[in-house]
């Protein structure tokens, strides 16, 4: 049974439109509504089974993050359909849903609640989360006193504290220090060894190579190449050199 499926997913955004209801009604009455759109994802299909790990590579603005958001169910496709199964752990942007005025501990509960984890479950896991993040006695201090790396560690620990079936990571590993990166990689590997699947967006080819068996090269919203990571990275790097 697949944990993630994309069936010809296309995402388009309206390019410009009026933000005023009054203007909109006037334009509507005059028949002047123009629908200019930009295509962010173009007819993307893929499937991901238990134990799969997929890397997404490509230049900025290629549609990698949009793809991840469709997978998480945050963005609804303009055409096509996506499906995910089981518990999803999205780490799309670090620091999301964290409140600077709340302490680390309070933030753990709030973030867990955002992810749909029950308070009881979070209470069971809290020591493990604090320990994994390596926050120590800072856990009672307000989050605004934390460094970026500490917030990143906390976010990763919360999102992965409960064993998820589908883990979606967007440029997350580049924030922490080397020791923490290694810990994260270990945890991610343990997930897919147990049959979860992982999608990772990164510009760091080393972590893609380390963590993902399969990769997709995305450009202008389309899949250019897909296959074993080494081949895809080689093709991508070659294209970069041929341009330069």
């Amino acid at each position: 049974m697949n944990l993630l499926e994309f069936h010809a997913v296309t995402v388009r955004y309206p390019l410009q439109r009026t933000r005023s209801l009054k203007e909109w009604m006037i334009q509507h009455a005059k028949g002047q509504i123009v629908r200019e759109e930009v295509t962010v994802l173009d007819n993307v299909s893929l499937t991901l089974g238990p134990g799969d790990s997929l890397g997404l590579i490509g230049p900025n603005g290629a549609g990698k993050s949009t793809l991840l958001r469709v997978a998480a169910g945050i963005i609804t496709p303009t055409e096509g359909a996506a499906l995910n199964r089981g518990m999803v752990a999205p780490i799309i942007e670090l620091g999301t849903g964290f409140d600077g005025d709340l302490s680390g501990r309070e933030n753990i509960f709030f973030n867990g609640a955002l992810l749909g984890r029950s308070r009881r479950l979070m209470e069971e896991k809290i020591d493990e989360i604090i320990d994994f993040a390596g926050i120590g006695e800072f856990i009672e201090s307000p989050l605004r006193t934390y460094s970026t790396g500490m917030v990143a560690r906390l976010a990763f620990s919360v999102a992965t504290a409960v064993e998820a079936d589908l883990i979606l990571l967007d440029e997350v590993l580049s924030v922490g220090d080397a020791a923490f990166q290694e810990k994260c990689e270990e945890r991610i590997k343990s997930f897919y060894r147990r049959g979860s699947s992982v999608v990772l967006v990164s510009h760091n080819m080393d972590s893609i190579e380390e963590l993902c068996r399969q990769s997709i090269w995305v450009q202008r919203g389309q899949i250019v190449t897909s296959g074993p990571t080494a081949d895809v990275i080689a093709a991508y790097k070659e294209s970069l050199h041929s341009v330069a």
Partner: protein, 291 residues
């Protein structure tokens, strides 16, 4: 294009699962589904709890008196309005302050729920682009927090009643029912307007302009009887007339509202909830490109 399974022989055995995995389809043109939204909300009930808690504490965080403000605010209003309306404009009635406050609390709950849920959806927009949460969660927690505030502000109302010499009647047992009906009406309106406000920035301004007019079109600070009879039918088209009556009848008139009032108010609340939900479920899937 389909990704082939990774190299043969390396696939680990899947962990055995007691329950089938939950499936979530994310289809083009989908609308929010009542049943799955409900299930999602149940799953996120601790999020609702945190948002309500935050709403109630953040509002008073920077003031040393804290939640006491909820109790002081109606007291101040009462003093002002009692001075204005019992000395400057004079209506012939006993305890004007209770006549006014009982209806004003219901109005204020409605107004605050609509205003705050528009703000809440906008403030939390950035978060909704990064974490998938049930999109109705913000309006719902605003309505719940407002209801708790409403309950708290009944305490000073009862104190005022005791101080001004009228007793607190048994009919106040109807107030929880009244609060539920007003809450449903407020939530429906909040659904529709907060969803529209995501798309159009001027919706908030428009509501801010209309809201005082709406308040004065509802008999809150004046008795219905002072209106010329030929305008009475017009005023009675306003659903809020019946909704504030749900609060005024048990507190001021010390009766359970008439069956007709309850019926009309409930129908208005149900209508608002249905229309609000329809608007919301159509607009919600497109929030992400506008927030």
């Amino acid at each position: 294009m389909t990704l082939e399974q990774h190299a043969a022989g390396t696939a680990p055995p899947a962990i055995p699962r007691a329950t089938p995995l939950r499936e979530r389809w994310n289809r083009a043109g989908k609308r929010l589904h009542l049943r799955s939204e409900w299930r999602d909300l149940l799953e996120h009930r601790d999020l609702i709890r945190s948002l309500v808690h935050r709403d109630l504490t953040v509002r008073y965080k920077r003031s040393p008196l804290g939640v006491l403000w909820t109790l002081i605010h109606p007291l101040i209003l009462m003093v002002i309005f009692t001075i204005i309306f019992s000395t400057i404009f004079r209506f012939e009635m006993r305890s004007f302050s209770i006549y006014f406050l009982s209806a004003f609390l219901a109005w204020n709950y409605f107004d605050q729920t609509v205003v705050q849920s528009m703000a809440s959806l906008e403030w939390n927009g950035a978060m909704m682009k990064r974490i998938r949460v049930p999109q109705t969660v913000f309006a719902i927690s605003t309505a719940i927090a407002g209801m708790i505030n409403l309950g708290l502000s009944l305490i000073p109302l009862f104190i005022i009643m005791l101080v001004t010499g009228s007793n607190v009647p048994w009919t106040i047992v109807f107030l929880p029912v009244a609060a539920m009906i007003v809450g449903a009406f407020a939530l429906g309106t909040a659904f529709a307007l907060s969803a529209l406000a995501v798309f159009f920035v001027d919706v908030r301004e428009m509501y801010r302009a209309i809201s005082p007019a709406l308040m004065y079109l509802t008999p809150i600070i004046y008795p219905l009887e002072i209106l010329p009879p030929q305008f009475l039918w017009m005023i009675k088209l306003n659903p809020l007339v019946y909704l504030v009556q749900l609060f005024r009848a048990p507190v001021y008139y010390q009766i359970i509202p008439t069956g007709l009032t309850i019926l009309v108010a409930s129908l208005c609340a149900a209508g608002a909830l249905v229309i609000g939900w329809i608007v919301f479920r159509h607009l919600a899937p497109r929030f992400h490109s506008h927030l």
